[in-house]
């Protein structure tokens, strides 16, 4: 139910005469109707200047341009250039990537290995005595060269005999001797 009268049914068409694309028959019919309808004649008469004013007002805006390049759209979408189809062209990239991974793994292992506390290190890292070393240690040195070798073998065991690394000065002297070699092997140099 209509609460208000909307006036003539052709009033809308009269206002839209400039915007709507009427064919010649519809146009003639509308103008013929406007001769007998005051509302439609008024709309036709003043609808045209409104239409012209709007077209003129939007004219400068219709000349506005932008210089955006389609590359911005590609950046927004994340487009990538297609991969080369020849497999051999991928070899340099593969080698480079392999080198990168090798360096990364090496650096990571080095960092992890050096950051371990000595007490948490694996037992395989502690020095072990071989049978050959035990044999040479038990043999008395004969020549100068053998003496040097023997000395090195004995010195290798020296850190294990150190009781404490902290020393405190007392009266100008240390409270105890810093390093004591275990000389209990019974073998002395000549």
């Amino acid at each position: 139910m209509r609460l208000f009268s909307r006036g003539c049914e052709s009033l809308e068409a009269a206002y839209l005469a400039g915007a709507d694309r009427l064919d010649s028959g519809e146009r003639l019919a509308l103008e013929a109707h406007a001769r007998s309808c005051a509302d439609c004649a008024d709309a036709l008469r003043y609808g045209r200047p409104v239409d012209a004013a709007l077209r003129g007002a939007f004219a400068p805006l219709r000349e506005r341009r932008t210089i955006i390049a389609p590359g911005r759209v590609r950046l927004a979408v994340g487009l990538r250039t297609p991969a080369p189809t020849n497999r051999w062209l991928r070899v340099p990239r593969f080698v480079g990537r392999l080198a990168e991974v090798s360096v990364m793994v090496g650096v990571t292992l080095f960092a992890v290995g050096t950051s371990l506390d000595p007490s948490t290190r694996p037992t395989s890292l502690t020095p072990t005595h071989s049978i050959v070393q035990e044999y040479f240690r038990s043999q008395p040195p004969v020549g100068d060269i053998d003496y040097v070798r023997w000395l090195r073998l004995v010195k290798a065991d020296a850190p294990s005999t150190v009781s404490d690394s902290s020393r405190l000065p007392m009266g100008g002297r240390f409270d105890y001797d810093p390093i004591e070699f275990d000389k209990g092997s019974g073998v002395l140099p000549r």
Partner: protein, 221 residues
Amino acid sequence: MKTQRDPAAGDTRTDHDLVYAARDGDTVAFDALFYRYRDGIFRLGLAITKDPSAAEEIVVDTFARAHRALARLEPDASLRPWLYRVAVNLSYNRRPRKGLVLSSLDDAVDEPLANEEGSPSRVAEQAELRRFVLGAVDELGPKHRIVVVLHYLNGLNLTEIAEVVGCPVGTVKSRLHYALRRLRTHLAAHPELGIEPSRPIIATGLRAPKPITAPVPIEGE
């Protein structure tokens, strides 16, 4: 041998062909679509947001969405209504918030038209007239304003506008009729336009238009 086209020079293929070519990975086809519609979308975004940088972002976002939707786009003849619909939605999402001072739509009219001739005073009068008309358009509600902008700025016909705003053609006609009628009442205040106000409102059942409260800037003040 594949021939390279210059996208800026214009591609004669239809939107339908370009969409299908772009779907197959032809970036030149997508660029051709971009160059074909970027200015129109830019103007539409500018008319709604009144911010040139926001309008440029709307252009980029619109085509980014178009690229993502390439697989399901089925344009019969023109891709324009679909693109403009996306642009309108994006523009309304970026409308200026309260307190944000942006340039008005009529700032662009300060630049005289390239083919505008006459004395400086005449050019200034024309610019003032354009500002007055665009100020009246700004006073319209969003539904009526978008219909006016799409028709008079972007040159869309009523059927295309109906596709863009997502309503029947009859509704578009009704909105445009209402907008023109209300603009007529506003523009009657300017004597140079020679427009008389519309007939009494009660007789036609339309609501009374709100008068323009913002002062119209006058040259020299």
